[in-house]
Symmetry: C2
Subunit: 796 residues, 2 copies
Amino acid sequence: MSKWALTYDSWKPEQQSLREALCVLGNGYFATRGAAEESSADEINYPGTYLAGGYNRLKTKISDRFIENEDLVNWPNWLCLSFRPEGGSWFSLSDVEILDYNQVLDVKKGILMRRMRFKDKKGRITLLECRRFVSASRRHLAGIRWELTPENWSGKIEIRSALDGTVSNQGVKRYRQLESQHLELLSVGSVTDDSIYLSVKTNQSHITMAQAARTKVYSGKKELKVQQRISRRAGMVTHTIKCKASKKKALRVEKMVVVFTTKDNAITEPELEAKNAIQNCVTFKEALKDHVRKWDHYWRYCDIGISGHPFAQFVLRLHIFHLVQTTSLKTIDMDAGVPARGLHGEAYRGHIFWDELFIFPFLNLRMPEVTRALLMYRYRRLPEARQAAEREGYHGAMFPWQSSSNGREETQVVHLNPKSNRWVSDNTHNQRHVNAAIAFNIWQYYQATKDIQFLSFYGAEMFLEIARFVASMTKYNPKRKRYEIHGVVGPDEFHTEYPDSKKLGLSNNAYTNVMFAWILWRAFDIMKAVGNARRDEILDNLQITKKELKLWDHISRRMFIPIQKDGIISQFEGFEKLKEFDWERYRRKYGDIQRLDRILEAEGDSPNRYKVSKQADLLMLFYLFSSEKLEEIFKRLGYKFDHESIPKNIEYYINRSSHGSTLSRIVVSWVLSRSDRKRSWELFQTALASDVADIQGGTTSEGIHLGAMSGTVDLVQRCYAGLEMRDGVLWFDPCLPDELKNLTFRLRYSGHWLKVRIEHSKLKISFNRSWSKPTKVGVKNKIYTMDEGMSREFKL
Amino acid sequence: MSKWALTYDSWKPEQQSLREALCVLGNGYFATRGAAEESSADEINYPGTYLAGGYNRLKTKISDRFIENEDLVNWPNWLCLSFRPEGGSWFSLSDVEILDYNQVLDVKKGILMRRMRFKDKKGRITLLECRRFVSASRRHLAGIRWELTPENWSGKIEIRSALDGTVSNQGVKRYRQLESQHLELLSVGSVTDDSIYLSVKTNQSHITMAQAARTKVYSGKKELKVQQRISRRAGMVTHTIKCKASKKKALRVEKMVVVFTTKDNAITEPELEAKNAIQNCVTFKEALKDHVRKWDHYWRYCDIGISGHPFAQFVLRLHIFHLVQTTSLKTIDMDAGVPARGLHGEAYRGHIFWDELFIFPFLNLRMPEVTRALLMYRYRRLPEARQAAEREGYHGAMFPWQSSSNGREETQVVHLNPKSNRWVSDNTHNQRHVNAAIAFNIWQYYQATKDIQFLSFYGAEMFLEIARFVASMTKYNPKRKRYEIHGVVGPDEFHTEYPDSKKLGLSNNAYTNVMFAWILWRAFDIMKAVGNARRDEILDNLQITKKELKLWDHISRRMFIPIQKDGIISQFEGFEKLKEFDWERYRRKYGDIQRLDRILEAEGDSPNRYKVSKQADLLMLFYLFSSEKLEEIFKRLGYKFDHESIPKNIEYYINRSSHGSTLSRIVVSWVLSRSDRKRSWELFQTALASDVADIQGGTTSEGIHLGAMSGTVDLVQRCYAGLEMRDGVLWFDPCLPDELKNLTFRLRYSGHWLKVRIEHSKLKISFNRSWSKPTKVGVKNKIYTMDEGMSREFKL
C-alpha cells in the first residue's frame, strides 16, 4: 500500500458507494458548506415532515456515477460528464466490458484519479483517464479533466457536460420514505458558447446556489474547434460538444466549475458571481497547480509520520486528509460547524453533534484558527441555546444534542429501526453532556493557544453561560448532602431511561456529573484568566451574581458521583442493579451485535434493562483526563480516588460494551494503551479500519465517521506521545506501541512551532520558530523552558 | 451644552434632516449592514442604470417623519407609528400648534428622545414623549416607546403601527432622477394578534430582509386589552389598535422590532427567524437595560475627556458615538466595510472609499477586533482586486477607489454638476493611493496589536499583493535613473489630468509615489515579521520571485519625487507650472468656493488648469508620518530632507486649497498643530462643526462625514498627545492646545490597557492591565519599559 494513495485496482460495483465515500474530494467544498447544516423544517421532527427542509447535496456528492448509469436524474450536478460515439448510446459501464479499472485517491495532492479501459459492443476499445479535484486554494472552484484515447477506432463523438439541479436526498436507505426533494430551480441557461449555469434555491432555508461550468476540448495544447449546443430540460442544463476522435490520439476534455451561494461573503448575488467567475476562470492546469501547492502546505504541518506499519501510516493520512478537507482553513470565514459524517453523506442530515471533542485536539495544535472559527459557530448560536434553557426551565445556555442551521435542537423524536421496521421514540436529545464538550473545547483551545482575545470576548461568555445552565440543572439532595442531576442521557445511547419507568432520562450519569463539576470549577479559572476588569464586565452583562458564584463553587465540591464500594463507578445511578446481558448467546444468534438496541427492540426487549453500553460513557473520563487530573477533580469533590480503580473500571465497562459507535474503540484503545498494550493495539487497528473497511457494514457510504477518523489521529498524537497540556506546561510521556518504530509530527503550541520525534528509547523536541515568549515543556516530571531554535533530546 | 447630549429645543422644520442625520441610532444597525454596501448593477455606472442595484435604506433611515407628514409612502418601515382621536385624522405636525418641542440625542445611553406638546384644531392638548434605540447588545432588535398624555381631554383613540416596504432612495436630491426603487415585496401579514411582519428582497442583489414588529399598549404596568386589526396595502402592513385615553393619564405604547436578512449567520431563513424572534421578544424596558449597559461599556474604553472646552468635549463624544455605532463590535461577525457617510444617508450609495485611514487609528487602540474585521472585508475582496489589476495590465492586487458588495470598482464615470446641470465625466477612479491606505492600515494594525496571526494569514498576503501591484505600476526612466508612476489621481480630486491633455491622470503624484515607495520598503519588514517559514510559504503561494523582490527593493530606493529647488514638493509633476488661481475674485463672486470644481466647470473652465486643491494631498504625508519617519523615507530614496521645508510646504498648499472635502481641515489643523497653534485650533473648531453645523450646507443630511468625525477624534488622540507607534515603541510627545486644560483617555496597545492623562505641565501614563509581556513607552527621546500595574508621571 502506498503511503499517500488509496487505490482500488478492480471494479466491484458493490463497493462503489464505499469507494465514493472515501474519495469524495470536498477539500474545497465550495461555499455550500453553510447549506450542509440546515436540515429540517422548524416543526418537530416527525417522519414525513422532517426532511421537508433544505438539506442538499450540491455540496460534495461529486460522484461521476454517470459512468455506471445513463440516468443523470437524481445525481448531482457539476460532475455530469459523459460521451458517446455520435449516434450511439451514452457511455454506460454496464454496457461495456471493463478491461482495466484503476482508481486512486491521492491524499497528498488531493486528487481523485480513475483510469479505465473498456470495450463496447462494437469492439471499440477506449482508454479513459479522469482526474478531479475541488480546489483547496480557490474557494469557489472545482475541475474535472478527461483524457479519452480511442485505442482501435476513429470517428465522431459527442461529449455531454451538464449541471443538474434535480438532485434529491437518496443516499441513506432508511430516510428514503421521507421528503427528499429540497431544491427548487431558479434558472438555467448558457453563459457563453462553451459555458452553462444553473441556479437553484433550497426550499426551506431559501439559500440560493448558483453554479457555472465551462467545458473545452483539446488535442495536445490546441483547443479544438467544436460544434456546440446548449439545451435545457426539467431542472438541468446540458452542453453538448461534437468533435472527432482519432485512433491513438488523446482528446482532452476539461470541465471547470464554480459555485456561489447566498452564504458567501464578498458577493453581490450568486448567479451573477458564478457567471462572471466562469468567464474569468483559469485552466485546469493552473487551478490544479495551486491546489496541489495548498495541499503541500497542509501536509507540512498536518502530517503524522509513523514507521513500521505502512497500513496504519496510510490510514492515518487518509484520516488527516478527510479531517482537513472537512474543516480546512476555509471554514474560518464561514458559519460552519463540524458535521458528524463529514461532507460525505446524508446520514444525520448534516447535524452538528459533539464530534468536535475528538477533532479539536488535532486542530488545536496545528490550525487553531479553524478551531476558533468552529467555536464561533457555537457562539453565534448562544442566543438560541439561552432560549432552549429557558424553555426547559433552566438558566444560562443549553446547547442542543443535534444542532442545525439556527442552533435549534434537531434530534429526531422517533427513528426507524430497520430490524423491526418500527418507528421507535428517541430520547437521545437528553444528552446534556454536549455542553460539557463545548466547555471542555473552549478550555482546551485556550490551553493550546493562549488566545486571550477569544477567551475574553467569546469563550468566557459561552463557558459561563454553560456553567450557569449546569448549576441550574443540579438538585441538592439534603440526605446525601450532595448535588444530583436527573433526567439525562450519557454518551451511551443504549440507556435513555430506567426499565419500567415512565420518566425520561437517568439520574447521576457519572460522566455528566464529573464534567459538570469540572465546568463549575474551571469557570473560576476562566474568570481569572480574563482579568478582573473584563470579568466584572462579563458578569455584569450576564447578570451573574455573587450568590450564584458561591453556589457554583459549592456544587463543584459537592457533586454526587455514583461510586460503588468496590471502586467501580456506576455509569449512572442504578446501572449496577441492571441485569447482566448474555453476550455469548446474542453473538451466536446475531453475529454482529454492535447495534444491540435495534436487535433488542425488534425482540420487544430494550437495552435499558441490561448492563450493556453502545459506547464508552464513563470511560470517556479516562480519555479526556490524565489520572493526575482526575485525582484532582475527585479530591475536590471529596471522593477518594484510587489509581488502582482505573483498570478495574476499564475492565468492567469494556466487557459490557457492544462498540455500537465508531468512537468507542478509540476511547477504549486509548485507556488501555498503557495497561494492556496488545489489546489496545488490536482495537486501534479495528478503529483504523472503521471507514476504510466499512466495519459497520454500509454506514460509510452514508458518510464517513469524522469523529472516529480524527480519534485515531489523536490517539497517535496525544496517547502515544503522552501529550497533555496541564497548568501551562506541555507534557510528553511517550508510550510507543511495539508495532511502531518511531513517530514524528509537528505542533503549533502557544505561538511556538515544534517538531517532535519519538522512538522507543528517546524523545526529541525541536522548537523551530516562535511568535511568543518562551514556554514550558515537561518530560518525566521535569519542566524545561524552551524557546525558538532550541532542541532537546530525552532518554526514555 | 451638556457633555453627553445633543439637544434641540425648538422646532424648525428646515433643520429636520440635519437633526435626523445626527440622531440616527444605527448603533445596532441590525444585520442589514451588509446590504448597505451594495449599490449598483454590474454595468458601468451610467445615469439611469447606476442605481438599478439594490442599495436600500431599510438599514437606518429611522425617521419618524410621519409626525410631519401623513404620507407614509416612501418612508421606511419599522418606525411607522402614529395616532389619531378615533374618527379624526392621523396626527400631523403641520396640523397642530406646537407648544413645546424638545429633542435629545443621549450619546451616553444611545437613546433618542423627543418630547412634544401640541394643541390640535379642536383645542385638545397632548403631551407625547418618545424614546427609541437600536439595540447595541442584541443584534436584531430595536424599540420605540411612546408616552402619550392627554392634558385636557379624554376619548377613544387609534394607534397605528406599521412596517413599510415601499421605501425608495430619495435622500440625495441629485440622485432622484436615477432609479430609486430597490425593494421587491415578498410577503406581509400578521404573526400573532399584536404582531406583524414584512419580508422584502433587494432587486439586484437578492438579499431578503424580514422584519417583525410587536406593538402593545400599557397604562402603568398594566397591559391594556385593546381592539386590534391588521391590514395590508401595497407593500406595507399596518397594525391598528383602538383604546381609550383618559385625561392626565399616560398611555404607553411600545413597539419592538426585529430584523433579519439573508446575510445573517446562524439563521435558517429571515422570515422564519423574524417571526420566531418577535414572539420571544423582551419588553422595551429589558431591551433598553442591556442596551444602555453596552453603551456604558463602550464609553469605558472609548471616551476621550477634555477639560476647558465643553463644546469640543461634546462634539468629540458625538463623533465617537457615531464612529462606534457605525463600526461597533457587531461588525466583527459581518462582511462589512466602512461606509464614507456612516449609516446615515444615501450619498456615495454606501460605497467604501479610503476613510478607514482616518478611522482605524482610533479603533486600533480601543477595539482592534473591529479593525481586524474591517481589514478582513478587504481581504475577502482580494480576488476581485487581483482581477482588476490584471484587467489593467498590472500584477498583484489593485483595490478600487469606490468599492462595493463584491469589491468591484464602483466610481461613477460621470457625475452631475448641480451648478451647470451637466453630466461631467469623472476620472477619480484613478486614485490608486487607496491601495496605500489599505497597506498602511495593515501595518498600523499590526503595530498596535502585534497580531501576528492576522498578519501571517491575511495581512501579509494583502500587503504583498499590493506591493506587487505598486511595483508593476512603476516605469523606470533611464534619464532620471528613477522610477515613475503615470496616469494617477491624488487625494485632491480637482486634478485628474493635465490641461489640454488627452491622457487621463497625472504623473508622479508625490503622495502616491512616497506611499508606494514606503509599501515596497515595508514589504520586507512584513516578511521578516511573519518569519522565514511562513514567508516562504506565502511567496510560494503568490509565486513571487527573488527577482521581483530585488526590483521592489530597488524601486523603494529610487522612486521619483517631484521636489522643486526651493524645497517645495510638487503635488504632482508639473503642478508648479499651472496658473495661480485668483482666490479673491472667486470668493467675492461666489462666497462659498469649497466646490470650486463645480463653479469652474459651470464657467466652462476647469480646476485642472490652476494651482488649486480640493483637499490635502501632499500634506497627507505630514499627517501620516512624523518628520523623523519622513526623513528616513526620503533618505532611503536618496533625497535630501530638510525639516525646514515642512512649514514651507504646508504654507504653500494651505494657501492653494479650497477645503472642498471635510477631511482637509483635519489634516491641515494637524500639520499646523505645532507650528501655528492658533490657526490649527481654528481649523479644528471648524472641523468639529463639519456635521453638527452642516458647514457644507446640506451634505450632512445626505449622510454624516465619518472620516472627518473620526479625524477630529484622532487629532485629539494622536496629534495632541503626540502619540506614535515607531519601531516597537509607543511614543508620546504631547502638545495640548492652550484652549484645553487637560486630556484623558484609555488605550489598548499590544495587549496592554493604559490610561493616559495629559496636562500642560505633565503627562501621566498608567498600565492597568496586561495580557502580554512588558512593552516600551517613549517620552522625550527616552524609552521606558512598562508592565501591568506600573504608572509613570513625566514633566513636560
